[in-house]
């Protein structure tokens, strides 16, 4: 397994956000975490990338324990996190946003070819490369956030609600982008409230309910699971 989360507990002040979450991510494909608001999906990703310190439990990545590292050291190990709400740098240009994703890298030639690669994937960003990121539409900002994460050359990509606030057309575009990233060999952990979409994209899924894993299994099995259908797919 590329990533193993074991019995993770997180407290915000004294309130428990995660109460013993365990999950595994293989070194290929898409794993999704679905669940309602406040179930602990974002907290799980934030713990993996080091933004939130767990109070108990372990996180292992690539064979090494990482839950005691600060966020900037975890990026260096190869985990890129596209946080909830995109969190692009509004007063940096599109290109500066992308290049800062490669902050830790020193392979200059490869950085240039990766930038070109991002611009090929997202031609709209190329047109807007010198614009302030704040002037972009929501979908374009999401592309910047994903492009910035890819610029770190990650071994694993954490995506927190990439479809949030986007138009239906843009949501489909995002789905295509996420599948494409996984097909090109970067495994993805996808957090989504749009459970139907997430289960279509992913091969394996975890359902979080109030800080614990309520159900897990192959995404295709979960699509037909009664509990999941009733609670998350509106069936």
């Amino acid at each position: 397994m590329l990533l193993e989360v074991r019995n993770l507990h997180v407290h915000y002040n004294k309130v428990a956000a995660l109460k013993g979450v365990s999950l595994q991510v293989p070194s290929g494909g898409i794993v999704t975490i679905i669940g309602a608001n406040g179930a602990g999906k974002s907290t799980t990703l934030r713990s993996i990338s080091g933004l939130t310190k767990p109070s108990k439990g372990e996180i292992h990545f690539d064979g090494q324990r990482i839950d005691n590292l600060p966020a900037e050291k975890i990026v260096a190990r190869g985990i890129a996190h596209v946080p909830e709400g995109r969190r692009i740098f509004p007063d940096l240009t599109v290109e500066e946003n992308l290049r800062i994703g490669a902050f830790l890298r020193t392979d200059k030639a490869k950085i240039e070819s990766d930038i070109e690669d991002i611009f090929q994937r997202f031609p709209r960003l190329k047109e807007r490369r010198t614009q302030w990121a704040r002037t972009l539409s929501g979908g374009e900002q999401q592309m910047v956030a994903i492009g910035r994460a890819l610029m770190s050359g990650p071994k694993l990509l954490l995506l927190d609600e990439p479809s949030m606030g986007l138009s239906p057309v843009m949501v489909q575009e995002m789905a295509r982008i996420v599948s494409d990233i996984a097909e090109r060999g970067v495994p993805v952990v996808l957090v989504e409230q749009n459970a139907g979409l997430a289960l279509k994209l992913a091969s394996y899924a975890y359902v979080l309910e109030i800080g614990t894993v309520a159900v897990e299994g192959k995404a295709s099995d979960l699509q037909t699971n009664d509990h999941v259908r009733r609670a998350y797919l509106g069936a």
């Binding site: 933004l51 990026v75 969190r87 740098f89 500066e96 800062i100 902050f103 910035r148 770190s152």
Partner: protein, 288 residues
């Protein structure tokens, strides 16, 4: 242009220059650290005293003394970051209070080391540029040139270098910056060194013109606050524009009325800007 008008423009340009250096440093520190550095006026004072020590007492060439002052005050900034702001990282108000304490320490050290009285710094140059009946001394011209040079260098650093992007990224979203592998501690050190060093250079370059005293930082910090509020807290270009605006208004009113009225007009200027544009001239939004 009548000579006295031109003369006032020269005087205002000089005032705008060193105030811009001080205000830009203050904004940079606030942007990256989220801390209002009340000791910023005392960093300016420390720069002036660096000239007293290196130039007057040690007899080094003036510009060597300025360079040493830059490094010395920049290191004071790093010291503040390591001892005060880092332990209080999650508590910006604590940082502000700590900086007030640091201000008192610096003032006391200046009194202990140099005494209470104003220091006399011998002129660096007697030269002047004369245009009609107006003149600009070389000493003031050096301040203007140093400001333009340093602010241009800062602009290119922030816009063209990786560490400049890191500084701006940290100022905009600290957590997202950490996700890019940017170390907050390292960036904070850069910001404190640069911000403090700019104030130090302002103090060093103006030392021969102002007769340094331990309490010279007071009036400067008040002016700097007005400038960064008018410019929009967090905006570097706003700080430069507001420094020019404030210095011109203040200098002209001082020349044609008097200094007290000029201070009142300066505050009214801030009030007017806040009424029309509460986020300041260049402020776009609140920053953490």
């Amino acid at each position: 242009m009548p000579d006295f008008l031109l003369q006032t423009v020269f005087n205002a340009s000089y005032a705008a220059s060193y105030m811009a250096l001080i205000a830009v440093g203050l904004v940079l520190i606030f942007g990256v650290m989220g801390v209002i550095n009340f000791a910023h006026g005392e960093l300016y004072m420390a720069g002036a005293y660096a000239i007293v020590f290196f130039y007057v007492w040690s007899g080094l060439p003036f510009f060597v003394a300025v360079a040493l002052g830059l490094v010395f005050v920049g290191c004071l900034g790093i010291l503040m970051e390591l001892t005060l702001f880092r332990p209080l990282r999650t508590n910006p108000l604590g940082g502000l209070i700590a900086s007030i304490g640091f201000l008192l320490i610096l003032q006391t050290l200046a009194v202990l080391g140099f005494g209470l009285r104003n220091q006399n710094v011998p002129p660096v140059s007697q030269g002047r540029i004369t245009v009609g009946g107006a003149f600009l001394t070389y000493e003031r011209l050096y301040v203007i040139i140093a400001t333009i040079g340093l602010l241009t260098a800062l602009y290119f650093f922030l816009r063209k270098s990786k560490f400049g992007w890191a500084l701006r990224a940290c100022a905009q979203d600290r957590e997202a910056a950490a996700l890019q592998g940017i170390s907050i501690n390292q960036t904070a050190r850069y910001a404190m060194f640069i911000g403090a060093a700019l104030a130090g250079v302002a103090g060093a370059m103006t030392a021969p013109l102002v007769a340094p005293s331990p309490y010279m930082g007071h009036s400067v910090i008040v002016t700097a606050f007005i400038i960064i509020i008018v410019g929009g807290i967090g905006s570097l270009e706003g700080a430069v524009v507001a420094a020019v605006l404030y210095a011109f208004v203040h200098t002209f009113v001082t020349t044609f009325y008097d200094g007290v009225i000029a201070n009142i007009v300066g505050l009214l200027l801030m009030l007017a800007v806040l009424v029309v544009k509460p986020q300041g001239l260049f402020g776009v939004r609140e920053r953490a």
